[in-house]
Symmetry: D2
Subunit: 160 residues, 4 copies
């Protein structure tokens, strides 16, 4: 504990494309190599791929589960947090992270984006939602070119 640990969430769908899984695994690897703890929703898809990547590099992974049993965590979750609160656990994922990397994602991910932007938690996006309101684009999501860039931007914005 001589160095301050960083907590970064990776969010995205429990169903995802092979390309999204590849991106997520790379992000997980990058976070672990940089010593960050990975926070996620603990299930499959983007979450599992990110945990797999982080585990492969010896990183620590936390899965904040919607259901009532630790058995629902993907096999790469080291610390399962059992909320039994369904999607309300999305708020806990967001609040427990210093920055968020979002990869692809459906409506559940959109809710997490809303919670994160509402909390002024930095959000870095790979291949995700675009938002606009009243004909004006919303540029709050920091766009990343690739997984390494996403990790760098997420860690950079909180290291500053």
């Amino acid at each position: 504990m001589t160095e301050k640990k960083r907590f970064i969430a990776v969010i995205g769908g429990s169903d995802c494309t092979p390309e999204e899984a590849r991106l997520a695994e790379e992000v997980g690897r990058g976070l672990a190599k940089n010593g960050a703890v990975l926070i996620c929703g603990g299930l499959g898809g983007v979450m599992e791929a990110a945990c797999k990547g982080a585990s492969a590099e010896g990183g620590l992974t936390v899965g904040i589960l919607p259901g009532g049993s630790r058995q629902t965590a993907n096999p790469y979750v080291h610390i399962p947090i059992v909320t039994n609160m369904g999607e309300a656990r999305n708020v806990i994922v967001v609040k427990s992270a210093e920055a968020i990397i979002v990869i692809g994602g459906g409506y559940g991910t959109l809710s997490e984006l809303g919670h994160a932007l509402r909390n002024s938690t930095p959000v870095v996006g790979l291949n995700t939602w675009s938002l606009s309101r009243k004909e004006q684009p919303d540029n709050s999501i920091i766009l990343a070119r690739n997984p390494a860039d996403a990790v760098k931007k997420a860690l950079g914005i909180i290291n500053d």
Copy 2:
């Protein structure tokens, strides 16, 4: 209780423009005239305007509050539900409604949109977010032309 009660949520920012407040008040009036119970987050702005409109027509209003005290409810909330769960209460607002009318709105509202679309709860929008992903617009929000149209569409979709 001879007739089945309908539960419609009105969501939108606690800060809003005068125009959004006018729309919300009209929506509240329309819901009450049609016998629907108004569910909302219980605070100011769009929520207060909707409750004010519903109250003026003798409707019943429920405010699902983020804080720990009923004193934080706007004066037109008849049934304050005290969650002390911050924005996690957004999920409860969404789940307690059969359809949702969204008016304007910031990032908190965006999170509610995500939760609602995730739950397949019908969402009717007035002057609100536009969503797109991977260059494709998302058309899940049913657009309304005015408050009366919003009320009609919200009640129509669940009466079907």
Copy 3:
């Protein structure tokens, strides 16, 4: 709304004895006769009996449900609040009430007692848990002799 509404929770098991159901129904009737809104967990047993009694006297009932569907409410719940948060909804029941009447009850009820006493919400007990710590009895629960006495004590302590 000329008169200030009172919000009283009735808590107790979803399984209960016929005697507990009788007590709960009488408590529900008494609360409704006194114009109080009944808050409860929305399910069967003590909750259903209390709602049935309140409904019979024209009272308003709110059921704060643990599950994800309004269909799980007992038939006497007028306002179902759908939390999908399991037992975490017990905290919302407690926080939404100005005083609590507890009838019988198992471990879920014990958790609600803990939350209520922790919040300094007055608790009136009928046929319920006795608590002691380090050989000292804990006398925080106000004992009632019968349903009418429970209603009187619950309303009295907040009307003061």
Copy 4:
């Protein structure tokens, strides 16, 4: 990850006596020596003492915080989970553990006891609440003679 990690919660008041703090620190040490991950509510008193003991032996500690900021965690929490849900987080502490050791404790702890017994999570008690209902003592809490005995009983009951 060659060996299955165990997750044990230590619960007790954020205010505690020096004796309770001593017991909690010993329990924390014992859990860490046995390779268990310590789950707690992340604040002071019993929680801090347990985390301090676990940290001293190189154990991993998780603090499931009621507030909205990681800054509220005690200095020995390695993984702060930020719920912003107040006491509803007690349910998450209980559900995230395979067994619970309760030390002393006030009404918040009583609510956790209720949630744990409701979930059939084994509870080992040191110097804590006694429960009885309808004149019958409730013997669900497994009594421990000292910290080492508490650790042994908590790990034993889940290793079986």
